[in-house]
């Protein structure tokens, strides 16, 4: 039985659970690469071009880790979500880069919703490639889809409930592949939680709601994930004490969207840009002083 490798980066943080449910239901074994560690970062740097963003470098590191541990690697390309909702060009490029840099079998998951594709179509292609029949695929898709819908609803409710709390609340704005990556955002979030801050994640809101809310900050933006993030800001603005932006160096959509948000914000914010050499000491200084400011410990 062929085994599928899933790199724990980029799209994994959006659709990982969805894919895993789908493959589980199809009875296909899979392996997910481990949390990003120094070894994976180093592998990525070796393969990547120096102009790529840290997240894409890490992605290539994850693929490199998986290359001889599975028969297929799932490298999706979702280039467009319709209605002026593009993904970052790095997401488009990842598939071609992997195809040219590694001699591995890739699972085809190239979809463009603008051209009539759907997430469903993509998964059907995968199912066929893995020699499953139509009925099995349909069952697996339905199973995964129902679970995914429930997950989105649950995450949204948790976030909304957090907004009602009376403690100090910080909205973390960033892409989930940066926020939850062990080498990028995880330490920052750990630090906040350790200091008693209620953390609200921009990506945990239902994107159906946040995507359209983003229009209040900008009507021209066309990056889907940036729109979701800005929408999360609009949604929670009145109920939070501060915002922390986390992005990887040199993220192009973030440099545009975050900047735009910062200029229009009326509440304190902190902008953190992470590179592979960023030491936590420098971040700690910024986080500590940010919390000092929010907590009012400066003003006795």
């Amino acid at each position: 039985m062929s085994r599928v490798g899933i790199p724990r980066s980029l799209f994994y943080y959006y659709y990982g659970e969805f894919w895993k449910d789908f493959l589980d239901s199809l009875d296909v074994p899979y392996i997910v690469s481990p949390e990003t560690n120094q070894d994976i970062v180093n592998r990525g740097i070796k393969i990547a071009n120096d102009e790529m963003c840290l997240s894409l470098k890490n992605y290539l590191g994850h693929v490199d880790y998986l290359k001889d541990k599975c028969d297929y690697i799932l490298v999706p390309r979702i280039s467009n979500f319709k209605n002026n909702n593009q993904t970052c060009t790095n997401f488009w490029a990842a598939y071609d880069i992997v195809k040219n840099k590694f001699s591995v079998n890739l699972l085809h998951y190239n979809i463009d919703l603008e051209k009539g594709d759907t997430l469903k179509k993509g998964l059907y292609k995968i199912g066929k490639e893995l020699n499953k029949n139509k009925y099995e695929i349909r069952r697996a898709y339905r199973y995964a889809y129902t679970k995914e819908k429930k997950r989105i609803k649950k995450n949204h409710i948790i976030n909304v409930n957090k907004l009602k709390l009376k403690t100090i609340k910080i909205l973390i704005v960033g892409h989930p592949y940066n926020l939850y990556d062990d080498m990028i955002g995880k330490d920052i979030i750990k630090y906040l939680i350790k200091n008693g801050i209620e953390v609200i994640y921009s990506d945990k809101f239902d994107s159906k709601i946040t995507n359209s809310l983003s229009k209040k900050l900008s009507k021209d933006l066309y990056f889907k994930y940036s729109k979701d993030n800005l929408g999360a800001i609009v949604y929670s603005q009145k109920n939070i004490n501060g915002i922390i932006f986390i992005s990887s160096f040199p993220c192009a959509p973030d440099s545009l969207a975050n900047e735009l948000a910062m200029r229009k914000l009326k509440i304190p914010y902190l902008n953190l840009v992470i590179d592979d050499s960023t030491s936590f000491t420098g971040l700690e200084t910024r986080l500590e002083s940010f919390l000092d400011m929010l907590g009012g410990t400066l003003n006795d």
Partner: protein
């Protein structure tokens, strides 16, 4: 015996120490170069302060700030260890309760702090790039063969500052070399550099921030008259530079030390203190963290740098 409080600000380039009394009066202060060795710099600093401290005072609190604050905090058994942004804000508010904007340019970093009614409302610090900070100015001074302390005087002589790319240190440096080789006079180049520091600061940390007076400029670079002049010119506001502007972080942390005093009495005598650090790389997992173990009088007091928290 009267009580007094020591604040130490250990920056990347310079180490500052201040002793204040209960009325925030500075009774001893010193400013020396860190020279890449914070522990030795602090030993030297305490020796100087010991000489300066008048008789009849006892130290009731020690605070540390600056990039080596944790290390020196352990060394001196400080009662408070705080980041430099908080320290600078507290220090400035002690002397200027009406301040609205604090501009700060240090050796490796630059920050802006916005204050309203004595409450900090926002701040920013440089992110990845150290362009336009003190270390850039001192390396360019070396290239031009003059002392960084004379920089301001040179800049004031110029009537026609040359244009130097302000965005990036690397571009600024190549611009500077070109301008020098083409034959521009030194004053104009130095004035151009000072101006580029200001522009860089306003475009980087000051970006999108509303800068209102009273404005206070501090950090080592505030001693550079050229930079002050261009801040005034570009912001079209008066810029206050306190005579102790370079000590503000140390003053702030001394004030915080007073607020957090524990009742202990501290000594400035460090001669018999053995304080060493040992670095090693852990190979238990693929992260290969660089670890640092800190020994105070042969006793392991702390270790830093592990991701998993095992050490």
């Amino acid at each position: 015996m009267k009580d007094c409080y020591l604040g130490v600000d250990i920056g990347s380039i310079s180490t500052k120490g201040v002793i204040i009394d209960d009325n925030n009066k500075i009774i001893a202060s010193s400013y020396i170069w860190t020279e890449g060795n914070p522990v030795e710099a602090v030993r030297k600093l305490l020796d100087i302060l010991k000489e300066e401290l008048p008789k009849g005072y006892q130290i009731k609190g020690i605070g540390t700030t600056g990039s080596a604050r944790k290390l020196i905090g352990l060394m001196l058994k400080a009662c408070i260890v705080k980041n430099e942004i908080t320290a600078h804000a507290i220090g400035t508010l002690t002397f200027y309760p009406n301040v609205r904007t604090i501009l700060e340019i240090g050796g490796q970093d630059s920050k802006i702090i916005l204050i309203k009614n004595g409450i900090i409302t926002n701040y920013a610090m440089n992110t990845l790039c150290a362009a336009g900070t003190g270390s850039f100015l001192s390396s360019q001074a070396k290239r031009l063969g003059i002392d960084v302390e004379e920089f301001g005087d040179y800049a004031l002589k110029s009537t026609n500052p040359v244009k130097i790319a302000a965005r990036c240190t690397v571009f600024a440096e190549s611009d500077l070399v070109h301008k020098a080789q083409v034959g521009y006079p030194k004053e104009d180049i130095i004035a151009g550099l000072c101006k580029s520091v200001v522009l860089n600061y306003l475009n980087n940390v000051g970006k999108g921030k509303k800068i209102v007076g009273p404005i206070i400029f501090q950090g080592g670079v505030s001693k550079n008259k050229g930079v002050v002049k261009y801040f005034k010119e570009i912001l079209k506001e008066d810029i206050i530079v306190d005579e102790n502007s370079h000590l503000m972080g140390a003053i702030g942390i001394a004030v915080l030390a007073r607020r957090n005093k524990t009742g202990n009495v501290y000594s400035l005598e460090m001669k018999n203190l053995k304080f060493i650090t040992k670095a090693f790389e852990c190979h238990r997992c693929p992260n290969t963290c660089e670890l640092l173990k800190i020994y105070r009088n042969d006793e392991l007091v702390d270790s830093w740098g592990s991701k998993c928290g095992k050490y």
